[in-house]
């Protein structure tokens, strides 16, 4: 397996180099997506299947879609958008020397690092029985370090609010002018695949309790189903944001916070869960998180306040 690992590491380094140096922007974006998938592959080799799922779904998949749709805007705007003068040879040389020094120092440090066996993860693994879920990463995310996850959702929501504010002049245009392609294959594909993708997303969320998966991975897959509906013309952006949509967007944060606050008198601490209720609470929180995450990612893609079903 050493040969496989070395090959994978080599491919990752080569793809990163190509992504940064290739002339064409489109090629750079595609290389970046492939790099994300290769990283996902290497993380499965490093005993991190949860992260591989997240990287493949969010880092390569959804971010790739966002990058490509922005690429279209950049391409339509003309060739000289945002291009400053190329950096002088001096800057290039200095940057190259600096990067090589940084990379070498980093590699040396990584090879000499002393790994201490006294760690937070050991505690987490030991007290896994109290977490209500068997999957250690989900337990850490939703129970032991739930503050992190709550604030992370806040960041996701802020990014959406910021993006919607910035793109407000775009709202009144049709959501995507080239959705209605003439291909007869598209409606069938969307009809057949959407339920399957939704099912897979739901399964990933549910599986997060005992095996790799979870709210983030499942939410990303749900968002992927939404992206497919938008591209297939079944769902469009809308300037009006309905009350239901707003409620769903903040569902994750509010369920998380409300449960944490409501149980405070019982347990005496914010976000501490009583023993008998842990499993149902975890699953409730996970599904509400996944819904909010999926919807937020989808709205980041459409860049609008709301969504509406397109006329059939």
């Amino acid at each position: 397996m050493m040969v496989f690992d070395s090959l994978l590491a080599l491919i990752i380094a080569a793809l990163a180099w190509r992504c940064v140096t290739v002339r064409d922007l489109f090629q750079a974006i595609v290389t970046f997506i492939v790099l994300g998938l290769m990283l996902a592959l290497s993380w499965t080799r490093l005993d991190a299947p949860d992260l591989a799922l997240a990287e493949a779904g969010i880092g390569a998949g959804l971010l790739g879609v966002l990058l490509l749709s922005t690429w279209r805007v950049v391409r339509d705007a003309g060739p000289d958008q945002g291009e400053g003068p190329p950096p002088s040879p001096w800057v290039r040389t200095a940057a190259a020397v600096g990067s090589i020094a940084l990379g070498t120092a980093f590699a040396v440090v990584l090879h000499t690092v002393e790994v201490d066996s006294d760690r937070a993860g050991g505690l987490a693994l030991e007290s896994l029985g109290e977490a209500g879920v068997e999957q250690p990463v989900t337990a850490v995310l939703l129970n032991f370090r739930s503050y992190d996850t709550l604030l992370e959702l806040g960041v996701l929501l802020m990014a959406l609010i910021g993006a919607v504010l910035l793109r407000s002049p775009l709202i009144h245009r049709p959501a995507a002018e080239d959705t209605g392609t003439e291909s007869p294959l598209l409606p069938v594909l969307v009809t057949v695949f959407t339920p399957l993708v939704l099912l897979m997303g739901t399964f990933l969320v549910w599986a997060g309790a005992h095996s790799p998966g979870g709210a983030f991975q499942g939410g990303a897959v749900l968002a992927g189903a939404g992206v497919m509906l938008v591209l297939g013309g079944r769902l469009g952006g809308d300037a009006q944001v309905s009350l239901l949509l707003r409620a769903l967007l903040i569902l994750g944060v509010s369920v998380f916070t409300v449960i944490g606050l409501l149980l405070m008198p019982l347990e005496g601490a914010f976000m501490a869960y009583p023993e008998g209720l842990v499993y149902p609470l975890m699953v409730t929180i996970e599904f509400s998180l996944a819904l909010s995450i999926g919807l937020t990612l989808l709205l980041l893609f459409t860049g609008t306040n709301g969504l509406r079903g397109a006329p059939a």
């Binding site: 970046f32 950049v74 958008q81 990067s99 995310l141 996701l156």
Partner: protein, 100 residues
């Protein structure tokens, strides 16, 4: 730790070095965003490696941090992309005014 070179540790160092180089030398904002993301991926790879090296099962705490990191990186990048789109929109509008 072992003196044997770890392929993924070298890959993490390469990602960080290449990401840094790209961020300095590239001019286009979209390319810079890609470079920052490559740098971030190097950091994620490092955390995953440290979790992997620990004795026993892989450490879930760095894993949870990386999962959080991936989502935050995508949020920040999506916001950056929205900024790029807005900049192009404003530039176009200015151009239209100039033509009038």
């Amino acid at each position: 730790m072992s003196i044997m070179p770890e392929p993924f540790a070298l890959a993490a160092a390469a990602l960080i070095a290449v990401g840094f180089y790209g961020f300095i030398t590239q001019q286009h904002p979209l390319r810079r965003l890609l470079a920052i993301n490559i740098f971030g991926n190097g950091v994620f790879m490092t955390l995953i490696l440290v979790a992997y090296w620990l004795p026993g099962d892989a450490d879930p705490v760095p894993h949870a941090m990386v999962l959080t990191g991936i989502v935050i990186a995508v949020s920040a990048t999506a916001f950056g992309l929205a900024l790029i789109r807005r900049r192009i929109l404003d530039a176009n509008r200015k151009q239209d005014h100039g033509d009038d």
